[in-house]
Each structure stands twice: as structure tokens, then as C-alpha cells.
Amino acid sequence: MIKDIKIKNYKGFKDFQLDNLKQINLITGKNNTGKSTLLEAISLLYNPKSVYFINFSGFNSNNCYSFFHNLNTQDPIIISTSHNNLKLNIHLCENIKEEQRFIKDEKPENITKKETGFRFLYSSKNKAKTDLFINTNGNYYQTNKSDKIHISDTKLINLRNTYLDNYVKQFDEIQTNKQDDILIKLLKETIAPRLNNITLSQDNTLKVDLGLDKYLPFSALGDGIKTLFKILTTIYTTKDGIILIDEIENGFHYSVMNSVWKVILKAAKEFGVQIFATTHSKECIENYLKAFNELELEDDFDNYYRLEAKQDEIISVEYTTDELKNALQNNFEIR
């Protein structure tokens, strides 16, 4: 579990730090205050290949500059945490061919000329240094493959993305571990009372039994159950890892929010998963607190942050659970 994160020169973050991170971290703030950017940075730290999908426009030679604060590509992006002293420097490489001296394990002829991309330079507690080159064409080169850096399993859940392949793989793993019955039971109790079963067909698609004569495709289900399915399958398959969820309220009716949160909090606790979730919804926050109290979770299980844009910087305002509770009771704005 990471307890802090520092981000420098990444998109809206000039020099940003979040401390006192807990197992559950709920993040809010107005538009353009860096909520999604924070999740991206954590994702990049532990899963550099996520550079390909964290931007809607992908990762290409036209937009790779936009990852840098105020387009400042002279300085690296730095993302670090005190957990294992992990530090990542990301440099823009406009011609990876020229950088091939760093790439000991790759044959230079594999690299075509003028590949643009990022060099990910890691350092960590055990002094290991790892270089990765990820270019905009989808190629990936790694040096010092023998060195191990401390990487946590980290998954970014994009709830707006309708692509299900990752979740199909996760469900397959859950079935193998014989955890699918519990998962289906939770979905049924929380949000989909008609759901009897979910199966993986031979063509690797998900089918659902809603008590009708035939199985239906998973895509026929509503957004709420799809969202909860994505979140739960990810928690079940990311033991002791980190999960990043942008706009967690997406697809849920307010009346199910309390039970949805209970299921998520219980699963996160059971699988030791650290969650970073953003939200714009006050109802989502209220129901989160209600679930938190009903489950009688410990005070140091969670923290709440609001990000605020101040001129060229983004700052965070941190609330303890009790401060958050009292703010809501007194109708103080928290978002």
C-alpha cells in the first residue's frame, strides 16, 4: 500500500504531493483540478504501458508533449512514492534510435529510425535501476531485465470504456479460483435481483442468465451492474494491489449506492486492495460514509481529498472521516 505520492511536471501538476494515503482514498474537486490526472500518474508509476490508454486520444507523436506540465519537455516527469523509495522519471525521447546505447537487451536493428516515445527510468530501494522505452508505435524495449523493481499490481478502471476484454480475463481467473458464485451472489443482492448466473462461453464472451429461456449477452445488462462487475472482478484479481476508479458513481442509481459501497469496501478489505476513486457526486460521498459507518470500519481505513486549482498549481485539502461526516451533517460544501 502506498502512503504518499509525489508528482512533478505531469500535465496539470507542477509539483504536487498527497500524504496520509489510506486503503480507501476518495478524491473530489471541480473540473480540471487533476482528479483523473492523479489516477493516471499512479497508473504510470506502476503500469507504464498504461501510457497507451490513459489519454482519450491515445499516445502518439502529436500528443506526447501534452503529458508534460505546460509542455515543458526539458524536464522529466517525476512520479515517486516513499513505498520502497520507488521513483520514476519519464523523459521524452524524440528519437529512440539515438538512445539505443541505453537499450542493452535489444538489437539496434529492431528499432526503426525516428521512433518517438518515453523513456521510463526507475529507481527503487534495492538500488535497482530499470529503463523502459515505450514508443508511440506500440513498441516496448526494456533494459536491465534482470533487475527487479518493486512494482505493485495496479489497474485503472475506465468506466466510460465499453471494452470488456480485460474483465472477461479477470472473470475467467475468478472462475478458476472458484470465486464466481460469491461474485454473482453479491451482484444479485446488490444491484441485479434477476441475475442467476454469469458464464464464459467458448468464444470468450460473457453470457448472463436472467431467468429467461435463453442466456443473454452480458452487454444487454444495464450500466450499474456492468460497473459493479468491472470493479469487483478487478478487486478479486488484484490482491494486495492498487485499483484506480475514475468517477465511481457512473451508472449507479443513488438508491443502490449504499449497498454498492458496502460490497466494494468489504471486498477491498478482504483482498487488501488499495482504492483511489474520484467522484463528483455528493450522494455518492454520503452513501460512502453511511456504508463506512455501517461496516464499522476503523478510522484510519480511509481518507478524503479535494483537489483545488490555484493559479499554476494544484493543491489538495485532506479530510478525516470525522471531518467529512461533520461537514456533511452541517451542510458545509466538500466538493
Binding site: V317, Y319, E323, L324, A327, N330, F332, I334
Partner: protein, 219 residues
């Protein structure tokens, strides 16, 4: 539901209840001061809750990008002004430990005096930083010349003859006075009665608190 509270002034005054807030806003209006935001923090008897609420209020988002220049806590003296002052200071010490961003303040040493820290802080104890009592004491003191005041005194005195452990005397006196003075006998809270000038806003009993509010507005 009304809009959630956001901070819209750089000088904040935290009071114990909605009546205190209404009274202070009426006094501010009479002084033509509009740069102070008055915020209610309920439940001073639950210390932890009071600090959590105060801290949450200070963390509320601001309407525009500015910093809080000064803030004050206003508590009732109840049985003793000095112990209420110490209570307020110990609350401020706890608040200091929470390290709220851009809120850099020292602990006040005297009643109604602002610190010289980057964020100015002060404590005012009702009714006058000296005597025991509360907001109600101050309001009643402002109408001692009113003929109805004596009626209220006699009424409560008679009631005490029937029930000698009658509690919340000041509050009962205030409500009795309002019942006599309000138009058509309308039921009003102290805050509403004060807004309607049922109490004497020009009385010199308010001089100290007015001075304090002027002081806060200039920080």
C-alpha cells in the same frame, strides 16, 4: 435544502448557534461591516465533534482564490469566562495540529485580542469576556430599561417560587420577553427577535462586542 456553505469572506467568525449568528449579522449590519462571514459550529460540549466541525468548516472550498486572513471563535462564558477562554484556546491548539493549509496562526493569550500570526486568531467570550452568562445575558442587559423587562423578572421570580430548581433562566427570560414584545404575539427565536429589533441594538452593553467586530473587520 439550502446551498452548502462555501467560504466567501477572508475574515471568519465561528459562533455556537443560529441565534448567535443572527445577532452578530444584525450587529454587523448596524456597523456597515460586510467583510465577515459568520459560521455556526454546533455542540461545544462534545470537544472532538466541535474540533472536527470547525476544521471541516475551515476546509470548505472558497468561492474565489483567496486566503483566510483572520478568524475568531465566540463561545458563551456559561459559569466562568476564564475557563471558556481556556477551552477555546485548547480547541485552537488541537486545530493547529491538523495543519490546515494556509492557516498559520498562534494561540491567543488574552480575551478579544488578535494574535500577530500570519492568520490572525482571537477568542471572544460572551457576554463581555468577564462575567458569566451567554448571548441571552447580553440581549437581556440591553433591555433592562424596558418596562416589560420587570414583568419578565417578576414572572420568572414567581415561577422559581413554584419550582426552585428552574434551569435555563436566561433563555426562559429571553423567550418571555420576546413573547411580550413580538407583534401579534408571534413565536420568534432570539435571532429573529434581534433582527426585528425587539432588543436594543444601540445599548452600550454591545459596545465591547461591536469593538471586537470592527477589529476583526480590519484584520
Amino acid at each position: 435544502m439550502s446551498d452548502s456553505l462555501r467560504i466567501n469572506k477572508d475574515k471568519l467568525l465561528f459562533v455556537e448557534g443560529v441565534d448567535d449568528r443572527a445577532v452578530i449579522y444584525r450587529l454587523l449590519k448596524s456597523l456597515n461591516i460586510d467583510n465577515i462571514q459568520v459560521i455556526c459550529i454546533d455542540g461545544k460540549d462534545n470537544r472532538k465533534k466541535f474540533i472536527d466541525t470547525l476544521s471541516a468548516a475551515l476546509k470548505s472550498p472558497k468561492e474565489t482564490d483567496f486566503q483566510i486572513n483572520a478568524f475568531a471563535i465566540m463561545l458563551d462564558a456559561d459559569n466562568e469566562a476564564k475557563s471558556s477562554f481556556q477551552k477555546a484556546c485548547s480547541i485552537l491548539k488541537e486545530l493547529q495540529k491538523r495543519k490546515i493549509k494556509n492557516l498559520d496562526f498562534d494561540i491567543p493569550k488574552k480575551f478579544a485580542e488578535f494574535t500577530n500570526s500570519k492568520t490572525k486568531a482571537a477568542v471572544f467570550i460572551m457576554p463581555d469576556c468577564k462575567c458569566c452568562g451567554m448571548l441571552e445575558t447580553l440581549c437581556l442587559n440591553s433591555v433592562k430599561d424596558d418596562p416589560f423587562y420587570n414583568c419578565v423578572e417578576s414572572f420568572i421570580s414567581n415561577a422559581k417560587g413554584i419550582k426552585n430548581d428552574l434551569d435555563y433562566i436566561e433563555k426562559r427570560k429571553v423567550l418571555s420577553f420576546i413573547a411580550l414584545k413580538a407583534k401579534k404575539g408571534h413565536k420568534k427565536s432570539l435571532g429573529e427577535a434581534f433582527e426585528d429589533d425587539i432588543f436594543n441594538i444601540n445599548s452600550d452593553v454591545f459596545d465591547l462586542i461591536k469593538k471586537f467586530l470592527k477589529d476583526l473587520s480590519l484584520r
